[in-house]
Symmetry: C2
């Protein structure tokens, strides 16, 4: 679908932005669904972010903004309204323009994780989650899990202060949270939110003794093949969710948030448009 | 060519923007020339223009901005530097980001008119030009002609004050200028910069007695077929330039202004990408 004067815009803001896959994926989905819209990369430095996001509210043919590294925390401050899972962690990856001239923000990075589990028939309700890695993606997954009805969330991180900060942010969600050791037992939803596994020589993020049937394992590491963690978990009889699911299952959540016309935005449509 | 994270941006700003052809034409030219770039429509109201243009200077993968109605005069104020033909008329239709964080502006609407004449072997040097219509496009053509070596420019407009204002703006160019009657004689380059001719019942902008061999006639009215003025002028033995030439011949000037990779940006390439 060629752009014309009626094309609506969905910029993705990052620094750098060269690596983002959103334009390729979204423009493919727009084409599949017959939506006259374009997702375009916008490279903006942290110092220029607030001015640009504020001014972009003046663009009348804007669907919204996707926000990526390193702008997710800073962009949350620019929203007049945050959905609870974004407010908990103080970060957004999507901003939606409202009629009153303001932005509403949400954090959907963890939503793909939760939606993937539900689609696979592995709902997180009542689970005790151990999240290894309290960085941006770990915080987003923790916040989405907190909103999805898990019973408890333990946070582990090389940096205990970072783990403690995330645990404090989750306190308002009314579930049991705390800082734990990566080797802690008593959890049945294990989430690797660290880069461990990107390289073949990386140690496993969890003690393999914890990989027992009935345990759910989720990885954020993406790759063309399953990560070593995912493979081992499956061999041990766990349900294991690969890192790519986070991204693919997030797209329908974004479509809903932005109020896009109904259509196919799920993993099958993505596979078709990316040729994966 | 599918957009990805490395795509550079060429927004066109207008209010409304629905009608613009630039995204269609430019994206076709980018594809023909193998340039990873996208021209996209940006609908912005006058009240939001200054803030948005200023903030857009923070976009690092920006080729530049195309500015259309009604923002051309207001955008000129936002440029730290104006090329002479833009400075004369106080309006820009292109803004280029400079290394120092500022904008340079130019007005290329009249450049297509002049380039068309040169390509046709009808250089404007030494001609005495009568321009009917002192609005935006008339001013742009007058300013480009003033920079292209015409001997004199007479301005005619229904509104004498508007004609006088344009004549004053051209004074600094060092050529004979003044307000004249549309029926004035002694001109050998007649430019219709009014909408007269858009409708079949419109009167002709000039006295047909002036259409004599050796006179150049230029029209700004665009259409699928030649305007009545162009047809009559050709029948009278004049060289006549159609309105579409302004747009098509302006594209290579824009490519130069923005420093785009060398390639085909001329009328033949445009005809190919628009299927015209």
């Amino acid at each position: 679908m060629a752009m014309n004067g009626e094309t609506r815009l969905l910029p993705i803001l990052g620094d750098p932005v060269r690596q983002v896959r959103a334009p390729l994926v979204w423009n493919g989905l727009f084409q599949v669904n017959g939506v006259n819209a374009a997702c375009l990369p916008v490279h903006v430095a942290p110092a220029d972010l607030a001015g640009l996001v504020t001014a972009m509210r003046g663009i009348r043919n804007l669907i919204g903004l996707i926000v990526t590294v390193p702008h997710k925390p800073a962009a949350s401050v620019l929203a007049a309204r945050l959905l609870p899972r974004a407010a908990r962690v103080g970060a957004v990856n999507v901003l939606r323009p409202e009629e009153d001239g303001s932005w509403t923000g949400d954090m959907l990075d963890g939503e793909g994780f939760v939606r993937g589990l539900r689609r696979a028939g592995q709902p997180p309700e009542g689970r005790r989650a151990l999240i290894l890695g309290a960085g941006g993606v770990g915080a987003a997954i923790a916040s989405s899990l907190a909103g999805a009805g898990v019973a408890a969330i333990g946070i582990a991180d090389q940096d205990p202060a970072r783990a403690a900060a995330l645990a404090r942010k989750l306190e308002g969600a009314g579930i049991e949270t705390g800082v734990v050791d990566p080797a802690a037992r008593g959890f049945d939803l294990l989430v690797n939110a660290t880069p461990l596994g990107l390289h073949a020589e990386d140690p496993l993020p969890f003690d393999t003794a914890q990989l027992v049937p009935g345990t759910i394992v989720g990885d954020v590491v993406m790759g063309h093949t399953a990560s070593r963690l995912v493979t081992l978990a499956q061999e041990a009889g766990c349900f294991a969710q690969a890192g790519t699911v986070l991204m693919e299952e997030q797209l329908p959540a974004m479509a809903e948030f932005f109020g896009l016309p109904s259509g196919e935005y799920g993993p099958q449509a993505v596979a078709r448009v990316t040729g994966a």
